[in-house]
Amino acid sequence: METLFGIVVDGVAYGMILFIISVGLSVTLGLMRVVNLAHGAFAMVAGYVASYAAQGLGLPYAVGLVAAILFTVLATLPLEKLLYRRIYGSANELAQVLLTIGLTFVIVAGINYLFGPTLKRIPLPDALLGTVAIGPKSIPVHRAFVIAMGAATVLGLWWLLERTDFGIKLRAAVDDPNMAAALGIRTERLYTATFALGTGLAALGGVLGAELLPLEPYYAIRYIVLFLAVVAVGGAGNILGSAAAALALGIVDTAGKYLIPSFGEFFFYAALILILFRWPHGFFQGRAA
């Protein structure tokens, strides 16, 4: 029972981190049809910025978090203009994979040059240490915080996409980019904004998840497969799908590690194959975005 409770708490927290990072990837894939393998690198950059802000400059955690997100979004916007715009569209899958792998390598090398190959930590503030009691059980505050932030992200994105002007335009462009452009929607600006949104979410997840996905230069390569798996299972551009997929894969992975640790990631990939074999367009192949 204790183990089960641990699996659920850790699995859900882990799943929420996967969700926050992956949903940005999912939205950009759904709208711009770009398989962005550098997405994990963006999350990593944010983690390093937050780590530097906290440890090098001594700034509080919240300030570091905001600074990391702003920095990552501002730093990647020129990339969108210079690189990504050339490879939008599903016809360029291979070019996308290669260009973004190349970009990832460059970022990994740059991070290593600036920060060295050792693990970096983002020290948590006192408010996030310790445990919080929920009924008869108690869970670590940091896990609870991550879960709450994940839930807030789901709600925030839902509100943004379903209730705002931006969301309406975004959904229109996902359904039919040419028609949306013909109706006077500035799709290029929409792409830029969506790219920034996706990068910002990656940055948020990278900072929040530094406890679960430790920061080191190979982070960008090590975890991108996880994020892609969430998108593939959840269905590109599908927010609730990404959330469900991230939670399911997070719990499966955590359960595998708790119960049968010697088998590593076997269960994660076995589950992935089973799901994708049965539902090749993702588990929730409903409306996109």
Partner: protein
């Protein structure tokens, strides 16, 4: 959107150039294998101290060639080709340790194992496309790696498999400590591989696969089964990858877990694209370029290597989408393209 752009480039070429191009290219294509053999032998005399590296390059070129068959001629974007390479390497290695030692039999064992894995997994996953297919190929390679890692008694797990000692080739040529036999053997296998691959891509089956790559719907409308073509192609390429793995095992004497890794699959893709996918020479040029640069730069600092290859990769995608091999076309066409 950029797809339209690329189509426009192809359509812009004047017709007389298009007529001149193929004939010249065919002449060059006919000379490719003798040229390759000559270059390989020249390297044998010129760099006697680098035979180990050159043997690895030859075996890797065969592996990248297998990816070229799948991706360049079938349009299957995969990040899991190492599943077949590694299975072939481990099958040959295990057979060498426990059963046989004849190098040619070991290659056959590796090819068979690679082909079987490709056939089974291909039949399972090739209904998918795009990102889903990419994820499935990654999942396959990860699962194969996990299985190999767990079968410690047979494979040595994370310590790797060692003690592969092939008997003399044809009973005559011992695998000497300088690697001369190894290199010539690897070069010969690569040349045979290129010849067979060329036969395959020019056969009706190869043309049908290209048809599936261009337009699966039309192939289906003509009465063909796109999926069956792709699964067959995947299995055939699996045999090539398995032989390449076995060749690596036989010539190096060891097999490690990294031979069934996601990153080894991705590296093959990088090599292929550097050289130029969709043409057999591209696979070889890309492998030679990649591994030589890697050898030089990684000796200095692995992160410099990543920076370099990252920039190189981005430059290739943006400015040279056909890879290094397409430079020759530009000369032939005299086209600024």
């Amino acid at each position: 959107m950029s797809g339209r752009h690329m189509g426009a480039v192809a359509a812009d070429q004047p017709p007389q150039v298009a007529a001149r191009g193929p004939r010249l290219r065919r002449t060059l294509g006919g000379a490719a294998v003798p040229l390759l053999a000559a270059a390989g032998l020249a390297a044998f005399w010129l760099f006697p101290n680098d035979l180990g590296l050159m043997t690895r390059i030859a075996a890797t070129a065969l592996y990248v060639l297998s990816l070229d068959l799948v991706l360049g001629f079938g349009g299957i974007a995969t990040l899991g080709q190492a599943a077949m390479f590694g299975t072939g390497a481990y099958a040959a290695g295990i057979a060498a340790v426990h059963l046989v030692s004849d190098p040619l039999v070991l290659l056959a064992v590796g090819g068979l194992a690679g082909g079987l894995v490709a056939l089974v997994t291909g039949a399972l996953i090739l209904h998918a496309r795009g990102l889903t297919l990419l994820m499935l190929t990654i999942a396959v390679v990860q699962i194969v790696q996990e299985v190999v890692n767990k079968a410690r008694d047979l494979t040595g797990g994370s310590d790797g498999l060692s003690g592969i000692e092939p008997s003399p080739l044809f009973g005559l040529f011992r695998f000497d400590m300088f690697g001369r036999t190894s290199y010539l053997f690897a070069l010969a296998v690569l040349l045979v591989g290129v010849l067979v691959a060329r036969r395959i891509v020019r056969s009706p089956f190869g043309l049908a696969c290209r048809g599936v790559k261009e337009d699966p719907l039309r192939v289906a409308a003509l009465g063909g089964s796109p999926r069956r073509y792709l699964v067959t192609l995947y299995a055939v390429a699996g045999v090539f990858a398995g032989v390449a793995g076995a060749l690596t095992a036989v010539t190096s004497g060891i097999v490690g877990l990294d031979s069934v890794s996601f990153s080894w699959s991705a590296e093959a893709l990088v090599m292929l694209v550097l050289g130029g996918a969709g043409r057999l020479v591209g696979a070889i040029i890309g492998t030679v370029a990649f591994m030589t640069i890697h050898h030089v730069m990684a000796a200095i600092d692995p992160f410099h290597w990543m920076l370099f290859i990252g920039l190189f990769l981005m430059g290739t995608v943006l400015f040279l989408p056909g890879g290094i091999a397409s430079l020759a076309d530009r000369f032939i066409k005299g086209n600024r393209a």
